[in-house]
């Protein structure tokens, strides 16, 4: 069922049914997008549920000027960035290290089934500032075009390209250091 049909069902008054269709169609994609940004399944679950609840409450205001998925993606990304910034501030105030700061922590996660190289990559990504992390994940993993990224994150194509460039080099330097390449 496409987005237009779902929105027509919603406008007919079958709001719960339409919302469940949206949840079944998009929750998995949103989950994997959030999972790369956040450090754990539990945090991802919390942010995903907050996102879906916000979608429910804001559906009456959805203006259809952006695709439904882009709109949901934007809400999810903003929720994740807000969470990451709050977590970063809390860690600084409490002089606490970020979660999953080293490879062993990531490999120990029961929901991680990758190898050491992938764990090293995730450590490097976790060290990025929140916005750079989001830009890197959208470009590197989802291969999203910058024009689409502007719709989700705001800003300009130039600023997003600069963010990705800096993030890419930081991650690459970390991987080279960890793998001891000359």
């Amino acid at each position: 069922m496409d987005d237009k049909e779902i929105l027509d069902i919603y406008k007919e008054g079958k709001k719960d049914y339409a919302f469940n269709l949206i949840t079944r169609k998009y929750s998995e994609r949103l989950y994997w997008h959030l999972r790369k940004l956040l450090n754990s399944h539990e945090d991802t679950n919390d942010i995903l549920q907050d996102t879906l609840i916000k979608v429910w409450h804001n559906l009456p205001n959805y203006r259809e000027d952006a695709k439904l998925y882009t709109w949901m993606y934007r809400i999810a990304t903003n929720e994740a960035l807000t969470f990451l910034k709050r977590q970063q501030l809390k860690n600084r105030l409490l002089f606490k290290k970020i979660d999953n700061e080293n490879t062993d922590d990531i490999i120990a996660d029961p929901n991680f089934s990758g190898d050491k190289a992938q764990a090293d990559l995730q450590v490097a990504i976790n060290a990025l500032p929140p916005k750079q992390k989001a830009v890197f994940c959208l470009r590197y993993f989802d291969e999203m075009k910058y024009d689409n990224m502007v719709e989700i994150m705001g800003g300009t194509t130039g600023s997003l390209k600069a963010s990705y460039y800096h993030a890419y080099n930081k991650v690459k330097d970390h991987l080279l250091k960890v793998t001891n390449y000359e």
Partner: protein, 147 residues
Amino acid sequence: MKQNNNILENQHLRENPYIVPVGYFSQLENEVNAKIHGKASLPSRIWMKSKSVVILACSFILLWGLGYGIFSLANLGNKSIATESGLLALIDEGYLSSSFIEDYYDEINLSEYLSRFEKNDVLNDNTANEIEESLTSNEILEYLYNE
């Protein structure tokens, strides 16, 4: 060196290394619906958003109250007349009647009070002690005022 610069271009690194708990997505819909239609109503959400502001305001009020309380306790002694020196001063100035003195007799150190009249001939230490032991408060006052 060229290979090192392309370390991130390894396609294996772009693969998804994560898994989800079994049945997670099928339960997700029910959990979200429960939150939307259950206890997570609008007043609850307003409280969740304003919680930090309310806590900050309550902390400020508590600190102010503690400060006011400490300040009040610190000034209480200065204003009290239920101390020895306070009572003695009021007796000298005639503000307290004998009946009042009777009530607060236990609080007054009689030796100190008698010594303030400088009755050298009669009120030496021993005499003062004898008087203290044998006389009531009214008798003492009558004796003193008649001298």
